[in-house]
Symmetry: C2
Subunit: 143 residues, 2 copies
């Protein structure tokens, strides 16, 4: 069996709380992490909450990297969902642990899309990535 995607769930405890509550820094770190992982960024969305805390998502081709921070507890929940062989989710994970200065990080990996098919599951090529095109009718789909 092969998986379509790899999903890393990061529990970052004992982080630098000031960084966790800095919208600009959190966004920069997350976008840089996506680039470190060789991801193709589709959209970036980050928000700061009152009185503190940040939520954000970097949507990448067929995947995403998300974060929710609780500066009051020095904790951040991060998800790194990647597909295909090009992306390096562990690279992004190591980068994030380092930048958020977590002294107690843990990572769990979940395989997503384990389908009962023989051989590899081809990943949709990034070279032809055009988010607004719809060429589905030209190709046969599994019904």
């Amino acid at each position: 069996m092969h998986a379509l995607g790899r999903h890393l769930l990061l529990e970052l405890k004992v982080c630098n709380s000031k960084v966790l509550n800095d919208l600009k820094k959190v966004q920069e770190i997350m976008v840089s992490a996506a680039k470190e992982a060789k991801a193709t960024i589709v959209e970036i969305s980050f928000h700061k909450f009152s009185p503190f805390g940040i939520s954000g998502v970097v949507v990448i081709a067929e995947s995403h990297i998300s974060i929710h921070t609780w500066p009051e507890y020095g904790y951040a929940a991060i998800d790194i969902f990647t597909c295909g062989d090009v992306l390096k989710p562990e690279t992004a994970a190591n980068y994030l642990v380092d930048k958020f200065q977590s002294k107690n990080p843990s990572v769990m990996e979940v395989k997503r899309g384990m389908l009962s098919r023989e051989g590899r599951l081809p990943h949709k090529p990034l070279k032809n990535f055009t988010p607004e095109d719809d060429r589905a009718k030209e190709l046969q789909m599994v019904s």
Copy 2:
């Protein structure tokens, strides 16, 4: 120990492929699911890929609901990350299984932010939700 958040990972297999490749329908379903779960929607971001497949995220207060579809395999990977006691992630999950017509769904729950503290971990109140305010300096943060 108590958790800050609940994270449901949905593996939806044998779905209706046409729905999985319909950008408008996928967005409507995901937004409706967030509302079914009583979530406060912060941002909506959905994209269609070529030749097929949709990725999208509904960012909600302190949480998110995301989807990545593979219509060619009739499969969708969905994440429902919620915090606090108001939101009902199972309600959203049931709704999504129904709307995507998955004949082989599975759900895994992960507790996020299990911190070694006594008593409940108060959730930041939604009433005071102002994504652009920064009142952190007025309040004491854990360093």
